[in-house]
């Protein structure tokens, strides 16, 4: 199997942009090409991840997206859902030996679409679940209640995730939400869907991430600091929430596939930092458990210990995570890109102090995370 390297990445800011979707997408793609010093037609293939029609108002979005992603008359495809899918697909194309370079581009303008939950309510089937008002936030509220009840996770512990991540975001020039908050601020914010409070839920943001992947030989030729793909895994869960144990999700399965491929036996020890999708604050704690970064039911004491702080032993979401910036489709690839920048030592003001040899990136979407993807990167 061929080794896959990340050559370089470029990210757009998350705040609502006055650029058209076409202009907004073009900028990071052009930036990556210029940084690496190649032309768009020298890239072998393109994989894009863009919105389902409901997130952009554009059907078959590859029709519109092709110009700004640079894929004119190049082999290409488009993934839907979380952009880690596009990362995986692009990696498969390089591993197959057919292509040496693949550009991954993911895009969305949250500022142009209605509220997240207007759209996530459309995930529900029209007969059984849509009439009940289920969407991602109501589903997450049920998951949070169960999590708190089964493991005694406190509201304060969940609020600490918000304080940490928004604190980290103050140093991230791309972050959408930039404000210093306290545990009290979070606890006093509006109860929008009990037990979830407004500040525990992610915003909707703009976002474009362009990432150039290459085979080992090509990556070494194109950059002094390639970041290597060591493993990935993904897994799909059953549709109806009532059929699942909401605290025993497919993330465990996705993680074990990724760890096996990367040869990781003890993730808590071997992983230096993680970027975890946490559209709802408590999910960072639950997901740390399911990723094996702490033991089951210990997500609360894990954040209490300070381990996941920027200066801790296993920083989680030094970029500020999804709570600070939530471009729905791109957010998974943002996690991969932020992890790659940490390994390269190019994360800027939110670069963590210790050396990063191994990083974990995670993406998820759907009710209580019906799909999970995990990517392990190394230097």
């Amino acid at each position: 199997m061929r080794k896959v390297g990340i050559v370089d990445v470029a990210l757009s800011p998350g705040v609502g942009s006055s650029l058209s979707l076409m202009e907004f997408t073009y900028k990071p793609v052009k930036e990556v090409l210029d940084k690496v010093g190649i032309k768009r037609n020298e890239v072998d293939a393109y994989v894009m991840a863009s919105s389902d029609v409901f997130h952009s108002g554009l059907s078959c979005a590859n029709s519109f997206d092709i110009d700004a992603t640079g894929a004119f008359m190049k082999p290409m495809a488009r993934e839907e859902g979380d952009s880690i899918k596009a990362f995986i697909y692009a990696s498969l194309r390089i591993m197959s030996g057919i292509y040496d370079t693949v550009m991954v581009v993911t895009l969305i303008k949250g500022s142009e679409h209605p509220d997240n939950d207007t759209l996530t309510s459309c995930f529900a089937d029209p007969f059984y679940t849509r009439p009940l008002g289920i969407q991602e936030t109501t589903a997450a509220a049920m998951q949070k209640r169960l999590y708190q009840k089964r493991y005694g996770i406190t509201d304060e512990q969940c609020a600490k995730v918000v304080v940490k991540n928004l604190g980290n975001a103050l140093r991230n020039q791309n972050a959408h939400i930039k404000k210093r908050v306290t545990v009290e601020d979070v606890l006093n914010s509006k109860k929008i869907c009990h037990p979830l409070r407004a500040m525990e839920c992610a915003p909707k943001s703009d976002g474009v991430c362009a990432m150039l992947l290459a085979s080992e030989e090509k990556a070494r030729e194109l950059t002094d600091k390639p970041v290597w793909l060591r493993g990935f895994g993904s897994s799909m869960d059953t549709f109806y929430l009532g059929d699942r144990d909401l605290l025993n999700t497919q993330l465990k399965n996705a993680a074990s596939m990724a760890y096996k491929m990367a040869g990781i036996k003890n993730p808590a020890k071997e992983i230096d930092m993680a970027e975890i999708s946490e559209p709802y604050a408590f999910q960072e704690l639950l997901r740390c458990e399911e990723l094996g970064l702490c033991s089951q039911g210990q997500g609360g004491s894990f954040i209490d210990s300070g381990a996941t702080q920027m200066t801790g032993s296993l920083p989680v979401n030094p970029s500020g995570g999804v709570l600070a910036m939530n471009p729905y489709v791109p957010r998974g690839l943002y996690r991969v890109a932020e992890s790659a920048l940490q390994i390269k030592g190019q994360a800027g003001e939110h670069q963590i102090d210790k050396k990063v040899n191994t990083a974990l990136a995670h993406g998820s979407y759907g009710f209580c995370g019906q799909w999970h993807g995990v990517v392990i990167l190394g230097n």
């Binding site: 409901f54 029709s63 057919i98 799909w371």
Partner: protein
């Protein structure tokens, strides 16, 4: 490029009965194709490493990211899933996703599923959300866009209108005859050349019998590595080559009479398959023909005849059932168009042809077959070549 990774085989195909399927829910329709593919291959879901799913955009059936809703029908629970979508070319794109997955060595058996339930939504309204509302608010649905392209082709090559109309009618008659041989086809009726030529104009030059139906249906294909295929399957079909190309968003940026994305996709696939004279070397072609005039254009751009001469070749019977290269013996898209599945159905029919499993549609002794799909605003083309030998 021009290389192929690990060899990839088709070890099974399955389709639903296509048509208006109000009798089943959408997930049940998908289940029907999946049951059929496992029966055909003689394996179970336990043997499958990964799943690829595709359909047209959510607006078609009103459920966003419908791979969530389909997860159980797809038997995807606990498995990796990719969801590829490229508009009309989706069926070929999902097949190619599955092929890359096996070729990469990351999976030995991949289940690829495409589906559509066109009667649950407004397909033309969906197509009208492909162009943006700022610069292309007045662009109509698919028949309008593709008829504009057909007229461009006729004008560019100065093709006599009566001749093009006759050739289009022959394509329609051949496809409808094919549909009568295909028990799963949506449209099953006999038409005559005169009926096609005199049918009501829908979008000039396209007339009613030049247009595909709106179908409900699903298709599933199992791809496997060489070792697995040899172990499981008595007679696998082999992926010989594949290509995909896309053009600019604004249709006027490129000449659509000499359709470079079709040419580019075909050339890449032919190069991998070692094909230099496609009309002579191919035994059968399953061409994405939602409109008869498009089949004519594709014959040229796929290199099956010289540019501007497809009508002459068709009138000479070169692409008819008993001609040199039979096209769309299954009845093609003209008889069945469940869009997300359509490109995959082309590949499934190609695989059935080269393994001698096409029943009444069988082209005698077919060894090498072309499958194709197109989509977008006259933008995307995909080609996959399937053969009987590794």
């Amino acid at each position: 490029m021009g290389r192929m990774g690990r060899a990839v085989a088709v070890i099974g195909t399955g389709q639903t009965k296509h048509g208006r399927r109000d009798d089943v829910s959408y997930p049940d329709l998908v289940r029907e194709a999946i049951q059929a593919v496992f029966e055909d291959a003689g394996i179970t879901i336990q043997d499958v490493d990964a799943i690829v799913y595709g359909s047209m955009p959510s607006m078609m059936e009103g459920v966003a990211f419908n791979h969530f809703y389909m997860a159980d029908a797809l038997r995807a629970v606990g498995k990796p899933l990719l969801r590829t979508e490229t508009c009309g070319s989706t069926g070929q794109s999902i097949a190619q996703t599955g092929i890359y997955w096996v070729a990469s060595g990351m999976a030995d058996i991949v289940l690829v599923v495409g589906s559509e339930k066109q009667h649950e939504g407004d397909a033309q309204a969906t197509m009208m959300t492909i162009p943006d509302k700022i610069t292309l608010p007045m662009v109509g649905g698919a028949p309008v866009a593709f008829s504009m392209q057909s007229r461009e082709w006729m004008g560019y090559f100065n093709i006599d209108e009566a001749k093009a109309r006759e050739a289009a009618a022959i394509v329609s008659v051949d496809c409808h005859d094919g549909g009568l041989n295909n028990p799963l086809a949506h449209i099953q009726m006999k038409v005559t050349k005169e009926e096609v030529m005199n049918a009501k104009i829908i979008t000039y030059p396209v007339r009613l019998l030049d247009v595909c139906p709106s179908s409900d249906g699903a298709c599933a294909v199992l791809f496997a590595s060489k070792d697995k295929a040899r172990k499981i399957c008595k007679k696998p079909a082999w992926v010989k080559g594949m290509g995909f190309r896309g053009e600019e968003y604004y249709t006027g940026d490129s000449n659509k009479a000499v359709w470079q994305s079709t040419i580019g996709a075909a050339q890449e696939a032919y190069k991998q398959a070692g094909i230099t004279d496609p009309r002579k070397e191919l035994d059968v072609a399953e061409i994405y023909n939602p409109f008869t005039y498009h089949e004519l254009m594709f014959m040229e751009c796929l290199g099956l005849c010289p540019p501007g001469e497809a009508p002459d070749y068709v009138i000479d019977g070169v692409f008819s059932p008993d001609g040199e290269l039979p096209c769309n013996p299954s009845g093609g898209v003209l008889c069945t168009n469940c869009i997300g599945a359509t490109g995959l159905i082309r590949l499934a029919e190609a695989a059935r042809q080269v393994t001698g499993k096409a029943g009444p549609m069988q082209v005698e002794g077919a060894k090498l077959a072309l499958s194709h799909a197109m989509g977008g605003l006259e933008q995307f083309n995909a080609v996959t070549i399937i053969g009987s030998k590794l």
